[in-house]
Each structure stands twice: as structure tokens, then as C-alpha cells.
């Protein structure tokens, strides 16, 4: 029997306190160091146990979808960088993919490989910084986050020297990529990838067998596979619950069918599994990157038939989706034949993954709420759009 996700949310709060217990309502956020941005939770507590949790968001709402309908197709590309500002490359790719689907644009081979390389580098740096943030939420202030950011900076340097910007890359275009990566860039990227396992080993040694971490994460915030599927959870969070669903395998977009990689799966669906899922996925990303560096050939990176000015796709609709570092990132576009999309809709992974927050938090303590929220991996730029 499947578990409906409202049934759990509306379960009557258990009153376990023997004193004359009144529920204590506290408002966590929007200005709170562990809420990953301007996110607020109204939490009702019985003692220290969470009995009700209401997420409040919209503090960072900036009309992304409506702006998408008033600017040209190309004009929305830099705005997609600002959705999930940790992974602008994958955001660019998802948007470019849906416009390419809409207009039927071919992408040159080298550009497809470059996209895979950049998407996997993005996955690496996103998961690295997530591990740092998660540990800093648990009270390991500073050290793991600084180590994570030190490594992330190496990847951001690669992005900067290729696209011109560390985070707001704005690199992909419809029908390819904006500039080609030279041989020296490739050599630098190869060096970063070769040096990465050393950091991963070190990081795992730092945290994985740490008793405090195990006590804080194991059996905390369990998410059952049924609830995960019913709530539309995607990405590492779904796979931590044991569901084998990776769009790189399922959809086979880009050149992913050409690569050999495994999809790590969790068993318990708790915070520890979600944390380890990221660590394992990084190893697979490194494998994909190594294969991509071997397979990539020189060639054009841009389809010359695509117009930059006055780009007008034919009437129709398209939904392009990719496996972003946080889950399924999709862009839904309706074209009425004009220079602007008639409808522009984003399917943000972190917003939809956030919907099960209450179900995971009920029955745990306030301190666990931060860990559970951290393990979801949200970025408010994407949640609020």
C-alpha cells in the first residue's frame, strides 16, 4: 500500500510530555545560518521533538518564469544561471536541450562531449560543496567546508578560464557551446580530475567513520521508496531510498549512452545514505570524465545554422530534462512561433525534493531538522525562482 504524503503530514501530534505540555512554535529562518538561503520553517515542538513543520518560502522569488516569457529565447539563458547558482552549467544544458528539442537543432559531437565534461564537473563541485555544508550544519564548523571549497575552487577556476565567469557561466548556446576549450584547458581539467580521488579519500577519512557523524545521520530522516516515488523525488535523494532511476541511464540524453558508469543506490533512505550517495556519485563522475577525455575529438563546437539574432523556433512545445546534480531539472517551453516563448516553465529538482521535508522531520529533534534539510540539497534560487 502506498503512503499518501498528506496522511503523514496531518497525523495528530503525539503528546509525550508528562508535564502540562503546550506545543512550542518557533520560526526557524529566514535569516538562519543553516537554512541554505532565505528559507523559513515554522516548527511546532513538543519538548525537543518536531510534531509539525511548515516550510515557508518565496523570499527569493523574482519572477523567473514570467521574465522568461518577456525576453527572447537567448535572453533567458543567463537567467538560468541564477536558478541553481551552484550548477549553472547543468542549468544551461537543460535549457539549451529543451530549445534544441523545440527547434530541432543538431549539436556537434565535440560540443556534446564538452557538455558532458562540464556537467560532470558541475556534479563534482556541487556534491563537494554539499558535503561541506551538510557537515557545517551538523556543527563541524569550518574545517570540512573549507576543504570542500578549496577543491571546488579548482573546478570553478576551470569554469572561469573557459567561460569567463566562476558561477554565472552562461556558456551553452542553442546548437553547441559558446567557445571551444583549448588543449591547455583540457590538460588542466585532466589534472584536476586526476588529483580529485586524493581529496575524496581524505574527505572520507575525515568524516565517514566519525562516530558523531554516524550518530547524527544514521536512521535520521528516513524516506521510504514509496513516499519518494509518490512525491516525485528525483536525483540522489531518490536513489538513496533504493530506487534505481537516473535520467542519464533512463533518457540517455547527450552522449551518456557512450559512457560506462554505475548508479549507486542506497538502502535505508536516511541522511547517512544520502550523504554517502553523493560521495559515491562523485567517483562515478570521475570515471565518466576520464572516459570523456579519452573519447573527445577536435571539431566545431557550434552548429553554424543556428541564428543568434531573431531566433524563432517553430510552433510547438517541448520538455527537455537532464539529471542535474540535485535531481531531474526540466524546462517546458511552448512556442507560438514568435521570438519569445509563450510559456516557460521550470521543473526545479530542489523545490520538489523539499516537499517531503515535513514527513522526514516528524518525530525527530530540532537539531536533526537542520541535518535533514542539509541532506536534501536545496538552493533557494531554484526553490523560489
Amino acid at each position: 500500500m502506498s503512503v499518501g504524503f498528506h496522511e503523514l503530514a496531518e497525523a495528530p501530534p503525539p503528546m509525550t510530555s508528562r508535564l502540562d505540555g503546550e506545543l512550542l512554535e518557533i520560526s526557524m529562518g529566514p535569516q538562519h545560518p543553516s537554512t541554505h538561503g532565505v528559507f523559513r520553517m515554522n516548527v511546532a515542538l513538543d519538548g525537543e521533538t518536531v510534531v509539525k513543520l511548515k516550510p515557508v518560502f518565496g523570499y527569493l522569488h523574482r519572477n523567473h518564469e514570467k521574465i522568461g516569457e518577456t525576453t527572447s529565447y537567448l535572453g533567458s539563458m543567463p537567467y538560468t544561471d541564477r536558478l541553481d547558482y551552484f550548477c549553472s552549467m547543468t542549468n544551461n544544458w537543460a535549457y539549451a536541450l529543451s530549445v534544441e528539442k523545440l527547434a530541432g537543432i543538431e549539436v556537434p559531437e565535440r560540443a556534446e562531449y564538452l557538455r558532458v565534461v562540464l556537467a560532470e564537473l558541475t556534479r563534482l563541485q556541487n556534491h563537494t560543496s554539499l558535503l561541506g555544508f551538510l557537515l557545517s550544519d551538523m556543527g563541524a564548523w569550518g574545517t570540512p567546508l573549507m576543504y570542500a571549497f578549496r577543491e571546488r575552487e579548482k573546478i570553478l577556476d576551470l569554469f572561469e578560464s573557459l567561460s569567463g565567469s566562476r558561477m554565472m557561466c552562461d556558456y551553452m548556446r542553442f546548437g553547441g557551446c559558446r567557445v571551444d576549450a583549448g588543449p591547455d584547458w583540457m590538460e588542466r581539467a585532466r589534472k584536476v580530475v586526476d588529483a580529485y580521488p586524493r581529496f575524496l579519500d581524505e574527505f572520507e577519512k575525515l568524516v565517514v567513520s566519525n562516530e558523531i557523524l554516524i550518530a547524527r545521520t544514521q536512521e535520521i530522516g528516513k524516506l521510504s521508496a514509496e513516499l519518494a516515488i509518490n512525491a516525485g523525488i528525483t536525483g540522489p535523494m531518490l536513489r538513496a531510498s533504493g530506487v534505481n532511476y537516473d535520467l542519464r541511464k533512463v533518457d540517455g540524453y547527450g552522449f551518456y549512452p557512450r559512457f560506462k558508469f554505475r548508479v549507486p543506490l542506497g538502502d535505508h533512505g536516511d541522511c547517512y545514505d544520502r550523504l554517502m550517495m553523493r560521495a559515491l556519485e562523485m567517483r562515478e563522475s570521475l570515471d565518466i570524465l576520464k572516459q570523456a577525455f579519452e573519447q573527445i575529438q577536435p571539431g566545431p563546437v557550434m552548429n553554424p545554422k543556428v541564428k543568434i539574432r531573431a531566433f524563432k523556433p517553430p510552433i510547438g512545445e517541448a520538455y527537455g530534462r537532464i539529471e542535474g546534480p540535485k535531481g531531474e531539472l526540466g524546462f517546458y517551453l511552448i512556442s507560438d512561433g514568435g521570438a519569445r516563448p509563450y510559456r516557460y516553465r521550470v521543473r526545479p529538482p530542489s523545490f520538489i525534493n523539499l516537499t517531503v521535508l515535513e514527513d522526514m522531520c516528524l518525530g525527530h529533534t530540532v537539531a536533526d531538522v537542520m541535518v535533514i534539510l542539509g541532506s536534501i540539497d536545496i538552493v533557494m534560487g531554484e526553490v523560489d525562482r
Partner: protein, 179 residues
């Protein structure tokens, strides 16, 4: 035994601390502003208007076609076209921008103006230390602030500028032949 995991983690921290004295890889801090990390060649920040030769007015490549103004996603460019014409780099009389303003507090450095410009007249600058004391129009860059020489463009983006020069020379040669 309980506590070994914590000790293992401490050992990693210790190795990083000691290693930061010996390994380049572990010591990444740069003491800005005394020390500066080098900027990559492709780095982009805000647009500027390159001009040929010495005179920013005579050499300005912009012909005030307003394509960038139209395509700019956050609408930070404002152009007023001139009434009279001036000769461009191949001697053809063209309009020029009487007013060319970029509000760089609005600009999001997306480079779309550079991509859509058919005259190679707007390029990305590398200046990033732009903090100002005033609150209102100190970040509104006017034509005089934006116009920078082609030599400057060569110093910040050498490869790209060489390509642009070659393209312009080829276009000028193609124009001159039939005439």
C-alpha cells in the same frame, strides 16, 4: 573502538595543517589586495566600447544600430542615435551614438551584447574593482567612460582581439575591392 573515527579525522586535519607549509596544493589563500590571483584570459565582467586609433569619437566602431539595446536581457543599455554621420573604419559614413549608457549596477555580465553586435563594437572588460562612494548614478557608465582604445583591448584579450582585427581587416579589404 569508539573514538577511532574521530581520531582518524583529526589526523587528516593535522596533515592538512602541516601540509599547508610544504605543499602548494594545500595552501590556496591569496592575500588580496597585496597579492592577486591572475585573471584568466577569458574573464569577462562589464562591456566597453573599443575605438580604433587615437580619438575616441572618430574611431568609435559603434553605429548606434541598437541591436544590443534590444537584446540585452536586463535592459541596461541606453542609446541615442546621432542626427549627423561620421566615417567608420572603411570610410563609409555611419551614424554614431550620441548617448551610450550602460548601467552596470543592472548589467549581469552575460555577454549577449557582444555576441549580437555585427560591428565588433562592444566587448567585455576585465575591470572588477568598481565600488563607488555615491549611491545613485556613479555606476552609470557613460560613453566617455566606456570608450577604450583597441590597444587596451589587445592587452586584456590578446587572442580574441587579434581575431577581431583580422576579421575587420578582411571585411575592409572585401569592401574596397569592388569600389
Amino acid at each position: 573502538m569508539i573514538g577511532t573515527g574521530v581520531l582518524k579525522g583529526m589526523a587528516v586535519t593535522m596533515r592538512n595543517f602541516v601540509g599547508s607549509y610544504f605543499e602548494e596544493d594545500r595552501l590556496t589563500t591569496v592575500q588580496y589586495p597585496e597579492e592577486r590571483a591572475p585573471l584568466p584570459e577569458n574573464y569577462r565582467n562589464f562591456p566597453f566600447l573599443p575605438f580604433d586609433g587615437e580619438d575616441p569619437h572618430a574611431g568609435l566602431r559603434c553605429v548606434a544600430c541598437k541591436i544590443c539595446e534590444k537584446e540585452c536581457p536586463p535592459q541596461c543599455i541606453y542609446i541615442v542615435k546621432s542626427e549627423d554621420k561620421k566615417p567608420d573604419y572603411i570610410g563609409k559614413p555611419q551614424f554614431y551614438p550620441k548617448v551610450f549608457n550602460i548601467d552596470i549596477s543592472v548589467c549581469m555580465s552575460c555577454q549577449i551584447c557582444v555576441e549580437v553586435c555585427p560591428f565588433e563594437a562592444i566587448k567585455m572588460d576585465k575591470v572588477f574593482e568598481l565600488s563607488r562612494q555615491e549611491r545613485f548614478d556613479a555606476l552609470l557608465m557613460r560613453k566617455s567612460d566606456l570608450a577604450k582604445s583597441n590597444d587596451y583591448y589587445h592587452t586584456i584579450h590578446p587572442t580574441e582581439a587579434a581575431e577581431v582585427d583580422a576579421n575587420l581587416a578582411a571585411a575592409a579589404a572585401a569592401k574596397k575591392k569592388p569600389a
